[in-house]
Amino acid sequence: MESTLKLKEKGKNIYLHQQYFLREKSFTGLLFLTTLLSASIIILIAGFVFSEGYPVIKNGLVKMITGTKWYPLEGVYGVWPMIFGSLMVSLGALLIGIPLGLGTAIFLSELAPPKIADLVRPALQVLAGIPSVVFGFFGMTVVVPLIRNTLGGSGYSALSGSLVLAIMILPTIINIAEDSIRSVPKELKEGSLALGATHWQTISKVVLPAASSGLLTAIILALGRAVGETMAVMMVTGNTPLLPTAETNYSLLKPLLIWLQPVRTLTSNIAIEMGYASGEHASALFACGIILFVLIMVINASATLLIKKKVSR
């Protein structure tokens, strides 16, 4: 009697085990399917952009990248002013955004009284959720007149773009940097304090170096966002397809004066002209997309490389 009961129990266990096994398998399969789908979408988009841009690319990629004249209706497609514009606006945004963002992240994770941190964090989350066209409108009605009235020119400039972008990348920098500072092991900090280091010495000499790979990730992701942003930048940079120049006797002032000139970024170039472009012109815009694609891939790859190097050291 007893043995049959035991056997029954055993059979039930085997049955249950099989059921779990099947369920496990099917979930693995399902997740693999979703991964496949996401990956194939990326490949599809890349393939589409490359095939559309190819007719212009094959006529001379080097000439296109180094060309400084953009006369799309006359068949002259020089993209260098746009590459320069994209880099200038994005790097400017980093120059303004990194000190602000890292400062905020350090304050929130190490120094802020909980009440203040609880107030600031949701505010930053709202900042991250604002659509870019709203940032653009803010830039057009506040930042542009501000620059026009204080620094001169039309106000529609690379600097306006950098300022608006700096605000837009703040949440990215702050969130990731704060997380990486928080994930520094407590023992490191306690050890430093126990050795008699002050709070600031601990932060600058122990916590920040330990969190450096995370901080780097924050900066690189912010750069990627800055290079890819379209709408807000398009509304404030003036979109002149020309290499910005400035004439001054003071060479130190030159970068700032160039920053006050209007520029066009790769993304705005595509967005502005796509609506009317046809034939070779449209193809040239897709080629701009390819250049943008490669630019962002290079940024991401160099980030991965840098972080790996840091970790292995």
């Binding site: 039309s154 106000g155 003036g238 009317y276």
Partner: protein, 262 residues
């Protein structure tokens, strides 16, 4: 689907059905308007098929002269040479472009030469045209825009626009840029004009429907159909349809209709 249907119907025409085909060729600015009117016309006259080819004004005139098209479309005045060749032009709408500045700008009037010099970069300071001493900020549309094409043709006659100008993707952003920038100048189609910007008079003529119809406002162009010799039957009927209520209502969506105020 619609394309296939048209092709199918065209095939029917080719194989000798009772339907009649009107071929219309010419200006790319007029073509979208005529195409829309033609769709309405076809819906009402099932026996007529209309084929519209956007080839450019001059090509349109040529096509009418050598008979490859029954009706041509032009978006400019006919040259005296063209006028001599038994061609009749019937204006179906007018296209006007206003030159706009910031409301606080002292400059109220510009000659068309001054406008051309400003947009090609010869005049760079408002002082040169009777305004304050400040640099002129030129705002253009994107390179392929129809408004920009018309403006460059009418005002700076094919010369390249000043390279350092700002570029706006839409008429709306041109207007906002002008409205918020004291020393800016730009152009928008007449239909988009509002109180946030000030339209300057050109050669002392204000830009409005009346002056454009009278031909005194210079940055405007007639959108016209042309025919050769006597016209009758369905051709006459189609042109009357363009000038009639439905045709002019379609025209008034993007342009200035010609029968206004008559």
């Amino acid at each position: 689907m619609k394309k296939f249907l048209t092709m199918f119907l065209l095939a029917l025409v080719a194989f000798g059905s009772s339907a009649e085909t009107i071929t219309i060729a010419g200006s790319t600015s007029v073509a979208p308007l005529v195409e829309e009117i033609a769709t309405e016309y076809e819906a009402k006259n099932k026996n007529t098929k209309i084929v519209v080819n956007a080839t450019g004004s001059s090509a349109g005139v040529k096509a009418v002269l050598d008979g490859t098209a029954q009706i041509g479309m032009v978006s400019r005045e006919l040259t005296s040479e063209e006028k001599a060749k038994d061609i009749k032009a019937i204006s179906i709408a007018n296209d006007g472009i206003a030159v706009v500045v910031h409301p606080s700008n002292q400059v109220k009037d510009l000659t068309i030469e001054q406008v051309a010099h400003i947009f090609t970069g010869k005049i760079t300071n408002w002082r040169e045209v009777g305004g304050k001493d400040s640099k002129i900020i030129v705002v253009l549309r994107d390179a392929a825009s129809g408004t920009r094409g018309a403006f460059e043709e009418l005002v700076h006659k094919g010369k390249r626009a000043v390279e350092t100008a700002l570029v706006s993707p839409t008429t709306g952003t041109v207007r906002t840029t002008i409205a918020t920038t004291p020393s800016a100048i730009g152009y928008i189609s007449l239909g988009a004009l509002d109180k946030s910007v000030k339209a300057v008079t050109i050669n002392s003529v204000e830009a409005n429907e009346k002056t454009i119809l009278a031909g005194t406002y210079k940055i405007a162009r007639p959108l016209a159909l042309i025919t050769k010799g006597e016209i009758k039957g369905s051709l006459q009927q189609f042109i009357e349809f363009c000038l009639g209520d439905i045709g002019q209502e379609i025209a008034s969506m993007d342009f200035i209709p010609v029968n206004k105020g008559q």
